[in-house]
């Protein structure tokens, strides 16, 4: 069962990223491609700062700030230069590859001393993985509560509404450009925190760690949205919880596919089929009810 435990940890580490995608989807209605870059950026900053024995709180702040800057850049390019949001994300993501290389100075950095890391700070349980699970769970819960409260403020409501109907929100006197920039900064700060968590879980940062990770986040959000629409959930808390759940489910699907020992060539198609099965279940049962 310890394999599913590590899959659960991985899912929780990536749930920050899923939250980030969820927010950018709310604002833009399209996923933010910057994710691939800012996830690696979070990992790179984490690895380099730990290599230089920095305090963990400082690392955490630096990671969040670096992600936020990356996201704000995408937002600025999109709103001030009127560049298509997808392209703006692609541009920043591409540029971040060089930035990450410059930060790391090499393509991967292993973390050698685990005791200074987040998962070595407190010992709640004797087993390593269980301890990691408790800490990551605590981390995710605190972060989610903060995001939840933020989304429930007037500011948060305006930000969410920007994605629904931009012209309407602008008519109400809200600066939508500002909303988008701040929203993207927030989303990418969360993504960078995913990189922070994953780097400490797998104990190394790698320049290619972010490749395709936007798909993971998007998959998690879509799984969550399916359930949100199915059960007609409107509360912020419910939605956030489902997004976290979506990230975990996505990793479980991958873990499950690996555990049943699928031929390596079929890995991706089987994973895709399982996700399809999950998101189409409500549709099929609904139609069954109608018939």
């Amino acid at each position: 069962m310890s394999f599913y435990l590590s899959a659960l940890i991985m899912g929780l580490c990536l749930s920050m990223l899923a939250l980030g995608i969820f927010i950018s989807m709310k604002i833009f209605n399209i996923p933010d491609i910057t994710t691939d870059g800012s996830y690696t950026l979070g990992g790179a900053v984490t690895a380099v700062m730990f290599m230089h024995q920095q305090n963990i709180l400082l690392v955490l702040l630096a990671v969040a700030a670096s992600g936020a800057i990356a996201g704000a850049l995408t937002g600025l390019i999109h709103t001030k230069l009127k560049i298509n949001a997808l392209l703006a994300g692609i541009l920043v993501m591409t540029a971040l590859y060089s930035v990450n290389l410059i930060i790391m100075q090499r393509s991967n950095i292993p973390l050698t001393d685990a005791s200074k890391l987040l998962f070595g700070l407190i010992h709640i349980s004797k087993t390593d993985d269980l301890n990691t699970l408790f800490i990551v769970l605590l981390f995710v819960i605190i972060a989610t509560i903060k995001i939840g409260y933020l989304l429930k403020t007037d500011f948060g409501v305006a930000m969410r509404a920007t994605g629904n109907s931009e012209s309407m929100v602008r008519a109400l006197g809200v600066n939508t450009d500002r909303m988008k920039i701040i929203g993207l900064a927030l989303a990418n700060a969360l993504t960078a925190l995913s990189g922070f968590l994953v780097t400490q879980f797998q104990l190394f940062a790698d320049i290619s760690m972010g490749i395709g990770v936007v798909i993971v986040g998007l998959g998690s959000v879509i799984i969550a949205e399916t359930v949100i629409n199915w059960l007609r959930i409107t509360s912020v808390w419910g939605s956030l919880a489902l997004v976290l759940g979506g990230a975990v489910i996505f990793q479980f699907v991958l873990a499950f596919t690996l555990a049943i020992g699928i031929d390596a060539n079929y890995l991706k198609i089987v994973t895709a089929a399982f996700v399809l099965l999950i998101v189409s279940l409500p549709r099929i049962t609904q139609r069954g009810r109608a018939a």
Partner: protein, 324 residues
């Protein structure tokens, strides 16, 4: 829609049932978890060599004396971590990792399960030495250091005369691989001593191979040095096609690339690399002890050349080279 619904439930039920089965493994047969980070024809040779060596030592999958589970992360590092976690929690008796990132991910995740690495650099170059400068105790396998590249690269001025002035050699390197960047640095230092002008440009994705190679060829290089990294392995045919069109010969340090059309090489053979690792793995499975096992250097390095390519470029290869 009833049948579809029933089908779904049945599918889900069987899936859950097989989930439980996956946990159990028959006790006597040793299980090896083989991890690759991405699919590649040349890198795959290491796995074939590894399996062949085990077979030669009496561990064959056909005779059920060993079970080799194979996971390929297909380029995704999230999947890579999960594959390794899966093998660790089973647990497998031995992890076999091919290429640097798989080895690194495994080393960082387990300190108990033995890891047999191949197609990877020295632990020092991978930066996994502990405070006392020791490699992880559960790590063995077959590794490669950089000095061999000197010999491969110094081949070029021996076999080729410059069209005018200094010999100009172009090369690409992958910024995402430490050994590729290190190799480039080393070659750069060496090229000054050999009186060669080296033009090195980064290429990080095989999608840009055509463009980057073309830009190198436009600088009138006399030869192309294909430093064996992941991008070169996957884009070699593109590189070769462009080089052939401009009549620029390719040199390298890996035998498999010579088979694919490079003129000559002195270097490791990925198949032999895997084979050597397989012999070590067999020794571990026999004794179940790490005694005498540690990362060791690649033993078989070959001087090889490609007959057709050499003839095409009118290059006379010394007699100690073997045609493949």
């Amino acid at each position: 829609m009833k049948p579809l619904k029933t089908f779904l439930y049945v599918a889900l039920a069987t899936a859950l049932a097989s989930c439980g089965q996956g946990q159990k493994s028959s006790s006597s047969v040793p299980v090896i978890g083989f991890v690759e980070a991405f699919p590649d024809q040349t890198i795959e040779q290491a796995r074939i060599g590894f399996t062949d060596a085990l077979k030669a030592k009496g561990y064959s999958e056909d005779q059920h004396t060993v079970k080799i589970e194979y996971g390929n992360a297909q380029g995704s590092q999230v999947t890579l971590t999960q594959i390794i976690n899966n093998y660790i929690s089973k647990p497998v008796d031995l992890l076999a990792t091919s290429t640097t990132v798989s080895s690194l991910a495994a080393v960082q995740r387990t300190k108990t399960i033995p890891i047999c690495e191949m197609v990877s650099p020295t632990p020092e170059r991978m930066k996994v030495l502990d405070a006392n400068g020791k490699a992880p105790a559960n790590l063995f396998g077959v590794i490669e250091d950089l000095p061999y590249i000197d010999t491969s690269f110094s081949l070029i001025p021996k076999l080729l005369k410059p069209t005018m002035g200094k010999l100009k050699v172009g090369m690409i390197y992958n910024q995402a691989e430490p050994q590729s960047v290190d190799a480039m640095q080393r070659i750069k230092d060496q090229s000054d001593k050999l009186g060669i002008t080296l033009i090195a440009v980064p290429l990080n994705s095989s999608a840009d191979a055509k463009l980057v190679t073309q830009s190198l060829l436009d600088k009138n290089i006399d030869a192309f040095f294909a430093n064996p990294d992941n991008v070169v392995f996957s884009a070699f045919e593109t590189i070769k096609q462009s080089c052939d069109a401009k009549f620029v010969p390719i040199f390298t340090s890996e035998a498999g690339l010579v088979k694919r059309g490079a003129v000559a090489a002195f270097g490791a053979d990925i198949y032999q690399w895997g084979y050597q690792a397989g012999l070590q793995a067999a020794q571990y499975l026999k004794t179940r002890k790490m005694d005498g096992l540690q990362p060791e250097m690649v033993k078989v390095r070959k001087r090889v050349y490609n007959k057709a390519a050499a003839a095409k470029y009118h290059i006379t290869v010394p007699t100690n080279f073997q045609a493949i």
